[in-house]
Amino acid sequence: MASMRARLVVLQILVISLLAVLAVRLWQVQVMRGPEFVEAATETRTRAVVVPAVRGQILDSAGRPLVRNRTALVVSVDRTRLVRLNDRGEAVLRRLSAVLKEPVAHLRQRLRSCGPGVTRPCWPGSPYQPIPIHDDVSTRQALQILERQEEFPGVTAEIQAVREYPWGSSAAQVLGYLQPITQQELDRRKGLGKGAFSGVDVMGRDGLESVYDEALRGTPGLRRVAVDRLGKAIGVEQQVAPVPGDTLITSIDAKVQHIVERALADAMKSAPRADGAAGVVLDPRNGRVLALASAPSYNPAIWTGGISEKEYTALLSGSKGKPLVSRAIKGEFAPGSTFKISSVAAMLRDGYPLNGKYDCPGSFMVGNRPFNNFRGIGLGVLTLHTALVKSCDTIFYRAAYEQWQRDGGIKPKPTAKEPMAAMARAFGFGTRTGIDLPGESSGRIPGRAWKEELWTATKDTSCKRAKTGYPEVEKESPSRAAFLKRLAYENCLEGNQWRAGDAANFSIGQGDVLVTPLQLASAYAALVTDGQVRSPRVGWALMRPDGKLVRRIEPPVRGKLPLSRKERVYIKNALSEVPSDGTAAGAFGGWPMDQVRIGGKTGTAEVYGKEDTAWFASFAPTNNPKFVVVVMISQGGMGGSSAAPAVRKIYEGIFGLGAQPAAPAQPGAAPVPARAALPDRRPATRLPLIKPDGTVGE
């Protein structure tokens, strides 16, 4: 028994030491490496779910929503989970197709990643995000999916905010649209934490949605959800509430915008060859945009829930008039006679007397080539005032020719002044206005330097064409081919020369001069007010959804006209007679000038091979202008007969004059008989009041 006892002592020691080993190991695992396992536990046990912030609304100057949110039940599919299934999710898609009543092929298309050779609909966002495939299902459908999760792995239905456009296609290009965030953008956006993907991460892709994206977006919240080993949520561990985006208040007046769009549509209907139109309404005193319209337009709602290939092609197709493109800020057109405000100003700065008398013959010889007045009619000896009212061309040809000669003609002096180009730049032409919208064009103010640059870039092609000609054109039209060959020969030989004809064309806004409708409006705004050239702004203020002001958006001043007040008033007064006694008298016949006097300038710009571009640039009331309205009809014909009537309709709507029915008070409501869109006859002066509960007050 003694030896047995000894062996039991061994057993005792063995038991103690093994348990001691366990205790040491537990110390190591739980105390020393504890924090490491706590982290690992958090990782396995929880999923971070991004709670999207409600995107801010975009309101008009009266607080009417231009873009708002509606809640919708959105069905999303997690593709990464589908492909892990045995049949790569085929059965799930079939069941989903039965619930959504959409063919499986459609669902499959929406789940593809966009890329070269993939037609829309396809998924432009990150492949790791759940892909929304239906953005408005019924509660019943959503429950069918949510209650049978084992049949729909990777499919979710949740309430999301979807953009809604109460005014339909109104101001579509200004508002812009949203698209899912791409993987690259997602990678660039730090701070959300890895793994924090969300199928509703969208980015503004155009218009205000893009420029004010940061403010509108808000800050997404984070919900750390505890899950079991099957991935089923069993509780919320941590919740950071999302901060909704700011509300963007614009200076757009939805009614005025509507009036402008209807005027453009009417103008295009009555001009048979018109292929596009743009309208701009500015408050000239501060550079705020009251309306910015481009026709044809489209309904931005088509972007939500995945755009189809047909819709997408239509947005960009030339035959449909490229409705995606805002002609008001991106379209570049020759301004025609509306440009003469710049040419007159250039003459004054170049020493031509303000009160001088100028001969306006029917034709003026620029070098050896005659340049004619409109229809070749001579108007006699005129003041500059009458020259503008009657839109005489030859006075400007002569001035441009004389200036060109003073600059040295074909062989320019090193100090060529180019007064007309310099003045055009002072009016803001040739550079972007800097409006708070993306993709603006800068227009073009040609000159000697520009010509030289262009020639350097194109002479090789021109010289080759001068030799080979245009055999591909010759079959259809031998005369056109011959013309093109001669042009190529001239361009090759002396394309770098700023010729007298170029200068003459420049003076009446023809030739190579291109402006955007917005630039023209901005230039007129500067001329008829204090001479400050402003960078227009659509955004007026950013507010928290409860009405607290975040910041005001002030249109910056980007230049000053080199004109005295007397000179500006002189030009303004001349323009004030155009609708009553000048080229726009026909369009404004019967307009109650005693109530609201309108000033303006017509423009009819010739485009080679196309119908003329019709312009009317205007302001009202003439004594203290509160509105600048510019309308451009591409291929619209005469400015006085095509663009000016559209402008008249806009003023009728704004002031409630004439027989024009006013814009409906509510979207979709029937138009009511003539009532002023702006009964005060001036743009809104105060920001709309947003109450703490988010409603718009009186």
Partner: protein, 386 residues
């Protein structure tokens, strides 16, 4: 009339309440430690089953029933004179062996991948291999308790019988297959042989033979693939954290995330999320680790230590060879199971399906463990031959 016959005439209940009854001479420390482990085990079973088992309390009611039956078995075993058991040991062994044979016949059922069960109906099932541990302990003690005169070593023939009895039991258990129980049986035999005083040479030889057998089993592909994977996964747990290494990785995460003080009962996220498989049975210790922290898990280890060391003490104090052998071998069994079970949850041991004594959910295991404690008490009560 001798004392024993007087006692036999009185009812069991009357005997139990008699102040002179042997019940009052039981090892109190051992009883308290086992009771404490049962209480902790009940809480852990509650925590790990409340999320999925029907009813608000999960499997707690059934577990408490098991513990109650176990307590009854403990008391009953404690009443029995262990020397009486020595006489009946072969029969007990044969009965348990019969249970193992019954499992292999169509009467047996497969639960959780191992064919180790006999379903009784009404939601109850027994695992005969647990009782086989008790039967083998008693048989081996009986065989080895009779030493060769003057040497203190068991007779050669008895050793051969002992090995034969072990071989049959291990063979039947491996047929199920239940590797864990087979290992426990081997350890029981090794313990009995060493405590019984078999020559060291023979012990070493047997150990080598066991290793050789293990090697043969390994190289002859007699193991199920999942068993091989469990062993390799133990050696390199991180190679496949989603596959076979999943269990040990998740067990480590659950225990480690408890840190010093634990997350509190029912507060363990890993337990609530059911990340550790078989958490109420084989991996119950992970619940203790996560919810009670280092302090709680070390308490469990300490309580088990108390049980084991009290067992060693009982073996040391017993004055007859059979009692010492039974007590010592029981300690080897429970100690091995404790170390392997906790060891596998903290990544020190390969994963084998062994429950943690007194803590894990599982009826038959609870019954067998409680019977083992009852035997220890019986030996304690009658440590001196009358």
């Amino acid at each position: 009339m001798d004392r024993a016959s007087v006692m036999r005439r009185r009812s069991l209940a009357r005997r139990a309440v008699d102040p002179s009854s042997p019940v009052w001479r039981m090892d109190g420390v051992l009883l308290v430690a086992v009771a404490a482990l049962c209480v902790i085990g009940t809480m852990l079973v509650w925590s790990s089953t409340r999320t999925w088992a029907p009813g608000a309390t999960g499997l707690v009611k059934k577990h408490l029933l098991n513990v109650a039956i176990g307590a009854a078995l403990l008391s009953a075993a404690a009443m029995v004179d262990h020397r009486w058991l020595r006489i009946y040991a072969p029969i007990i062994y044969l009965v348990t062996l019969g249970g193992l044979v019954l499992v292999i016949t169509p009467v047996g059922s497969t639960i959780n991948g191992s064919h180790s069960w006999i379903v009784l109906g009404g939601g109850f099932a027994v695992q005969p291999s647990e009782f086989a541990k008790v039967g083998l302990v008693l048989l081996l003690a009986m065989l080895l308790a009779q030493p060769v005169e003057g040497t203190g070593r068991p007779r050669g023939l008895d050793v051969v019988f002992a090995l034969l009895a072990t071989g049959i039991a291990v063979g039947l258990v491996l047929l199920q297959p239940d590797l864990g129980t087979a290992m426990v049986l081997v350890v029981i035999t090794m313990g009995a042989l060493v405590i019984g005083g078999v020559r060291k040479r023979l012990v070493v030889l047997l150990a080598l033979a066991a290793l050789a057998a293990a090697a043969a089993v390994w190289f002859l592909d007699l193991l199920e693939p999942y068993q091989v994977q469990r062993f390799t996964a133990f050696l390199t747990p991180s190679t496949d954290p989603r596959g076979v290494g999943y269990n040990s990785t998740q067990a480590l995460i659950a225990i480690g995330s408890g840190e010093i003080f634990g997350k509190g009962l029912f507060e363990g996220g890993q337990t609530t999320g059911r990340f550790v498989p078989e958490q109420h049975t084989d991996f119950i210790f992970t619940v203790a680790g996560e919810e009670f922290g280092f302090l709680g898990s070390v308490t469990v280890v300490a309580l088990l230590g108390v049980v084991l060391l009290r067992g060693v003490r009982i073996a040391q104090q017993c004055e007859d060879r059979f009692g010492t052998l039974v007590a010592g071998t029981l300690v080897c069994w429970l100690g091995f199971q404790t170390f392997v079970n906790i060891g596998m949850t903290v990544g020190m041991m390969p994963i084998t399906g062994l429950p943690l004594p007194f803590v894990s959910y599982g009826g038959t295991a609870t019954f067998a463990n409680m019977m083992a404690i009852g035997l220890l008490q019986a030996i304690h009560i009658r440590e001196r031959p009358y």
